[in-house]
């Protein structure tokens, strides 16, 4: 009867690899991670190789198929940084341009809004049919939420159907919502506001006004109640306040 705690052969191989590479201190979970990785990687490669072999109408998988499979996977998952001469060339070009002058008194120095993460990344669902009085601002929403990036954006609040429209911003900046203002005509006033949290019951008609995108903060808050700092869009205003506050 073998000892109660024998390490499986694969794990022994991993331990040996670590020893050969000179790694003496490691957490025990590293072995498990390495095993998982190895198993997944080898399985992927062999499956790919099988596909290539069948494509080439071969009955058996041979070394060429494996080599091809490894090559394709390497280019896909395990990319390495660019080669040095490429970097040198790019660096040379970039370093030729002189450093840009700094304009004084411009407030918080941030990139243009489309490159910042300060826009709201949700929009509110329009509930009621009441049309806003300032009808001139009505326009077809030209934005979709979270459709730009491949990463999932933070869960949007109350968007049942995302209208997939072309986005204005083409940069693959993940998690960047689109800047848009929401026109919420409260019963008494008609002003443009930034989005508020959807908990407000008075949301009537939510329109998206792309014409205000990119402009500096033109926002006047209404007397909406139950505001909490749900919208990141509100933060833009704060930075303007910081211009004048010497804290």
């Amino acid at each position: 009867m073998s000892a109660p705690k024998t390490i499986p052969k694969d794990a022994q191989v991993m331990i040996q690899i670590l020893k050969d590479m000179g790694i003496t201190e490691y957490e025990p979970r590293v072995i498990n991670q390495m095993l998982e990785f190895t198993y997944r990687y080898v399985t992927t490669i062999i499956e790919d190789a099988k596909i290539y072999a069948t494509h080439a109408k071969k009955s058996n998988v041979d070394a060429d198929d494996i080599k091809l499979a490894i090559q394709c996977r390497m280019d896909q998952s395990f990319t390495s940084p660019p080669p040095r001469d490429f970097l040198l060339e790019v660096a040379r070009q970039k370093n030729q341009t002189p450093l840009p002058l700094i304009k004084p008194y411009t407030g918080p120095r941030l990139p243009p809004d489309r490159y910042c993460l300060t826009a709201p990344n949700y929009r509110l669902k329009s509930v009621q049919k009441k049309v806003s009085s300032s009808a001139g601002r009505i326009s077809v929403p030209r934005l979709s939420v979270g459709a730009v990036s491949s990463r999932p954006s933070t869960p949007t609040l109350g968007t049942p159907s995302v209208q997939s429209v072309t986005t204005k911003v083409g940069t693959p900046v993940s998690l960047t919502g689109q800047r848009f203002t929401v026109q919420i005509p409260p019963p008494s006033q008609t002003v443009t506001t930034k989005t508020t949290t959807p908990s407000t019951p008075a949301v009537s008609n939510v329109l998206i006004n792309p014409s205000l995108i990119g402009s500096k903060n033109i926002l006047i808050t209404t007397n909406m109640v139950s505001q909490n700092s749900g919208g990141e869009s509100l933060k833009r205003k704060h930075e303007d306040d910081d211009d004048y506050d010497a804290l």
Partner: protein, 744 residues
């Protein structure tokens, strides 16, 4: 010109000789490597048909080979017809050269006797020198061509013989030269091994490795281990560091006498494969003077690319500090707050800032104020400076008999996840970057962290009231600490902006995030590195920041540009540590290739290369006067560098594990170092700087004389229970703060 590139020097020497007797030169077969200019060799080749036949044949064939390689087909035809050579006589010679046309100096070398090989080598060397110098493999972007710089240099089974032969020779040489010539062993060994691997001689490669890897210096152990796992050509692809090692030349600094010895020996032997490899892959920086001793060589070597060429460290560096702006205290009717803090009756007379007004003349070593654009001083910055000056007056003067107190901030329950720490300059906030992708900010003072109110609440406050700045802050959510979420990988670098408005964090996900400390939300994500970013730092003047990562470049950014402004490329391996110089005009980067490079922000050029560490560098610190640099690495040594001269002048031994943090005290008297061995050590920096004597001779030859005075310079060792020290910070009053995560 002391630098030698293979036999370039000889060729130039010969070209200047007025009477270049081609015939006489070609008669020399006994190992004098006098490479004739290509024109004369070709002409003398055709003139030789009247002299001795076998020699003549060989020369003709050599010349034909050379012409063919340079695609001078018509000349080939003409020569062949005139010399009456059969057509197939070219093939044996042609088979030996691969990597055609890519400037491989060794193409065509074979073993068929001294005459042919020496002739051919002469011809090909001259061809390479004349035409192919710019076309070296390193310029070609294609990886395969890069790797094909390893042309077949001879019988693989004989590599061991060549290497042992060289070993025997070097061991028989005079003592004073032996240390210098032993530098050749390591790069030669690695290149020969890789050549065997590349040409698919796996067994010979393994045998070669086993036989000679034990002879190498101990500090190359890690590299050798990596090499030992590389046995096939496929393994070499994708390893960028290795490819860089291959294409860049390993720099050796050897005195002229030692070099002559080596050259003479290698050229008089029959098989000069080693000589070819040396020409191809090594750059021998010759200097006139005494050969260096083993300890001197050991101090400077260890990096992945050898040492630094002397020209690399010759550029002028403006290491002085920028002049401090003169700040006047505002009169009381303009700004009551500052005056109230003063509490003194200075209301009528504006007080000048005394820091910068001492020297009216420009420091010759300081850059001009406008060398790089810097942001202007806002009112808040001026108030900050006033606070700074006031604290500076209360600063404790440190010295060997007045050591600082150390306050250690231990992060409990971090579960080994604490990866980066930073303090604000006035020591009011600590930020920690963690392996779970979060960034946490704590307030060190009793004042809690407040964020600005939301937009709706802001509407409700009275904008005209005097304490509007207080009213915009939200008291309800005030807390001791705030957590910032946003990264998708461990946060490896963290840095506060000097005006305490922003926080930068760099992460394994390849982005650098700018967080606002007013609202505690993320403002910008800077993408550029597509690989983990190991370190980031704000400039001391704000607005600019640098980052360095796995892709071997460091980038300079400005907060309002979404793309980097400068790219500092040149390291062979990851950039692990990036720091700004106090005058913001220079950036220093430490890397896993064991070198430290100083870059000029204005031009993006590398102005200094410092070699000497034997492990990846993890800590860098500038002295407050900007003249000196201290660096710490995994080898446990702290090295001190004189930036102006580009030399190492001090070595502080004592730590037994990686040094992760270095900091000079506010006036530069004490250097504190924190390490993974759970200790903080204090070193006497003033004494180390005083001992520095650099005269012209030292600067010219680069000979350094390191004193073994680490023990004298060590002022104290302070151990923590089980907490590695990740970060050190001197407060404005010279209290030392340290931070680390408890690691039971």
């Amino acid at each position: 010109m002391a630098a030698v590139q293979g036999s370039l020097v000889e060729e130039k020497d010969i070209k200047t000789e007025p009477s270049n007797d081609g015939g006489g030169n070609n008669n020399a077969n006994d190992g004098r490597v006098l490479s004739t200019s290509p024109g004369s060799s070709a002409s003398s080749g055709s003139n030789k048909s009247t002299t001795g036949a076998p020699e003549d044949q060989q020369t003709l064939l050599a010349v034909l080979q050379f012409l063919r390689k340079n695609n001078l087909t018509e000349s080939v035809e003409i020569l062949r017809r005139e010399a009456g050579l059969p057509e197939d006589s070219l093939d044996p010679k042609g088979g030996d050269s691969s990597g055609a046309g890519s400037g491989s100096a060794a193409g065509g070398v074979d073993l068929e006797g001294v005459d042919a090989s020496s002739l051919l080598s002469r011809v090909t060397v001259s061809s390479s020198a004349a035409a192919q110098a710019p076309n070296k493999a390193e310029d070609q972007p294609d990886v395969n061509v890069v790797l094909s710089a390893y042309s077949q240099q001879g019988d693989p089974a004989l590599y061991e013989v060549y290497y042992s032969g060289l070993k025997k020779f070097i061991e028989s040489v005079l003592d004073c030269h032996r240390a210098e010539l032993s530098q050749v062993f390591y790069p030669l060994f690695v290149h020969m091994y890789l050549e065997l691997v590349y040409n698919n001689h796996e067994n010979e490669a393994k045998a070669f490795f086993e036989k000679f890897s034990g002879d190498q210096e101990c500090y190359y152990e890690d590299d050798l281990r990596v090499l030992s796992s590389l046995t096939k050509k496929e393994h070499m692809r994708g390893n960028e560091t290795l490819l860089d090692f291959r294409t860049s030349k390993f720099v050796l600094r050897i005195s002229r006498d030692s070099y002559q010895l080596l050259k003479r020996h290698l050229q008089e032997r029959q098989n000069n494969q080693i000589w070819n490899i040396i020409q191809e892959h090594l750059y021998i920086d010759i200097f006139d003077g005494m050969p260096r001793s083993k300890s001197q060589i050991d101090a400077m070597s260890g990096s992945l690319a050898g040492e630094a060429k002397r020209e690399a460290n010759k550029a002028k560096v403006y290491y002085g500090l920028l002049k401090e702006p003169e700040i006047e205290l505002p009169l009381d009717d303009e700004d009551e707050e500052a005056e109230n803090e003063e509490g003194k009756p200075k209301k009528k007379k504006p007080k000048k800032d005394s820091m910068g007004s001492k020297s009216k003349k420009q420091d010759p070593n300081a850059p001009s104020q406008t060398r790089i654009p810097l942001p202007e001083l806002k009112d808040s910055d001026k108030l900050d400076k006033i606070m700074y000056m006031k604290e500076a007056t209360k600063r404790i003067r440190l010295g060997p008999d007045n050591l600082p107190s150390i306050c250690f901030y231990t992060f409990l329950n971090a579960y080994q996840g604490l990866t980066a720490v930073d303090f604000t300059d006035d020591s009011s906030l600590i930020a920690g970057g963690f392996a779970d992708s979060t960034v946490r900010v704590w307030s060190v003072t009793p004042k809690k962290l407040r964020r600005v109110k939301s937009a709706a609440d802001l509407n409700l406050i009275d904008k005209e009231s005097d304490d509007v700045l207080e009213r915009i802050m939200d008291e309800k959510t005030a807390s001791e600490s705030k957590i910032l979420y946003g990264h998708s990988g461990p946060v490896y670098g963290i840095s506060f902006s000097p005006d305490r408005n922003y926080l930068l964090s760099s992460s394994e996900d390849g982005t650098i995030r700018l967080w606002s400390l007013q609202t505690f939300t993320c403002l910008v994500g800077y993408k550029g590195h597509n690989y983990p970013v190991w370190d980031t730092q704000f400039s001391p003047h704000g607005y600019y920041f640098i980052s360095g990562g796995h892709d071997r470049v460091a980038r300079l950014w400005a907060t309002d540009h979404y793309q980097p402004l400068r790219m500092f490329s040149g390291h062979l391996a990851d950039v692990t540590c990036t720091r700004f110089h106090p005058n913001s005009n220079y950036v220093v980067t430490g890397s896993s290739d064991r070198t430290i490079r100083l870059w000029d922000v204005l031009s993006g050029n590398c102005v200094r290369i410092f070699t000497g560490h034997k492990g990846p560098i993890h800590a860098l610190a500038f002295s407050p006067n900007g003249k000196f640099l201290a660096s710490g690495a995994t080898d446990g040594r702290v090295l001190l560098w004189d930036i102006g001269h580009g030399l190492m002048f001090g070595e502080l031994k004592g730590h037994t594990d990686t040094i992760y943090s270095l900091r000079f005290s506010r006036d530069g008297e004490i250097l504190a170092s924190g390490s993974m061995d759970n200790t903080v050590r204090l070193w006497d920096a003033t004494k180390a700087f005083d001992d520095l004597e650099t005269d012209d001779f030292t600067a010219a030859t680069g000979h350094i004389h390191l004193q073994d005075n680490s023990q004298e310079l060590l002022l104290g060792t302070y151990m923590s229970k089980s907490t590695p020290v990740i970060h050190l910070h001197f407060t404005r009053r010279n209290l030392l703060l340290a931070a680390g995560a408890y690691n039971p």
